[in-house]
Symmetry: none
Subunit: 214 residues, 2 copies
DNA sequence: AATTACAAAGTGGTCTGACCACTCATAGTT
DNA sequence: AACTATGAGTGGTCAGACCACTTTGTAATT
């Protein structure tokens, strides 16, 4: 008979199978998962093992549980866990720097993609953003919109993820210089001037860093 | 008496208290945590509750457990969480194009970082690579080395992950033109010429794509 | 005295069964 | 028709029991 002496961690196996199950049954975001008891029976493990896997995914913000109702697939953007992680994990400045560097890489790539793709430049949204610059506005929203428009869904998701780990790298309020940098950046984005746009981006980043040092 | 049947999730509370405990007792990376049974008694909860919290932290790569030995504070720079989340994320966006775009973003950022950091340019490894170009060599190895030297461990981790999903984007054999492009790229890398290096990179990428189309 | 072999204690891994607290649908009552 | 009570289903927690594994101490052997 096959020994059940798994050197592997069972609960990790369950995590894996849960992922498979979610995929196979095509459970949508917000959809309901089978109950813990049913999962235990279907996967042929104890309920406590199932729970360990579920609790892990819950801490990651992948699922959401409501007592008396059930377990639901969550929109992982909502997780509150990340602030926990930042206090737990990202005390290391090396890691923080890595997160920022990687985010910047994704942001720049989005700008490049947009500049090099004619259809993406014609979006009238750039003008709208330039107009909105006068009001109070979240810089983060602009960045996000840029990445969204660049149409790299994977990059966007990774960026979201990192943003959550990075804490608050983007201040919401802008001073005059920052607004000016944004205006130029958006303007160059509109006409597809890659070199200039990247240059503007770097300038803006410099302004941001100075602002943080203050 | 104080009712502890709060609507709050107990296991989240335990996670919080574990963090406190690790801080208070100043447990170093690699250090040993109290046993599950001891934690259960100290925190006045059941062992299974403690386990749910511990399993969550384990999935996040914050702790490491070894059967028969104990639970240890892990080197969380391993970023296991990113790996996990990525496998979840990549289910619904397996667009190869997105994967490639994101990989290129990371590669370019590595090149930029190296160009802008003097210490990284002095590595004699570039000359070694230029020499090796004559022989049969894996382009993938050069790229990887570039990212490693750029010292962004998170980026490297993500890059590795994406490479797995991307299949085989980098052919191992190089023709004359590709070798020439690499030679220039490495040369510019050595002296920190960012603009030219990125330009070389783009040229090389173009050559790669043509080769694939053939 | 040194080495080996074995037993015991300690630890994480898993399962079972039992409650509790909560939500919801529904049968029953007014 | 509106309201109420009930029970089924679900997650939350606990206690106790094994198992598999590692470490450690001790007794037996050399």
């Amino acid at each position: 008979m096959i020994p059940n002496n798994n050197s592997r961690k069972m609960f990790l196996e369950i995590v894996k199978q849960l992922r498979q199950l979610i995929h196979d049954e095509n459970i949508p975001v917000g959809g309901k998962l089978p109950s813990e008891r049913e999962l235990a029976e279907r996967l042929q493990v104890g309920r406590s093992t199932v729970r360990e896997a579920l609790r892990s995914l819950e801490l990651l913000g992948i699922i959401e549980t409501r007592r008396g109702e059930g377990t639901f697939l969550s929109d992982f953007r909502k997780h509150q866990l990340v602030e926990l992680l930042s206090t737990f994990i990202l005390q290391d400045s090396r890691s923080k720097k890595d997160v920022h560097t990687t985010m910047h890489a994704l942001e720049k790539e989005a700008i490049r993609t947009i500049c090099l793709t004619e259809q993406l430049q014609k979006q009238s949204i750039w003008d709208a953003f330039i107009d909105k610059l006068q009001e109070e506005m979240f810089q983060e929203d602009i960045i996000r919109e840029i990445i969204i428009i660049s149409n790299n869904r994977l990059g966007l998701k990774i960026w979201f993820l990192l943003k959550q780990f990075a804490g608050e790298p983007y201040r919401s309020l802008m001073n005059v210089k920052e607004k000016e940098a944004w205006k130029m950046l958006l303007g160059n984005l509109k006409v597809g001037n890659e070199q200039q746009a990247i240059s503007n981006y770097n300038e803006w980043k410099l302004l941001m860093n100075r602002g943080e040092i203050k």
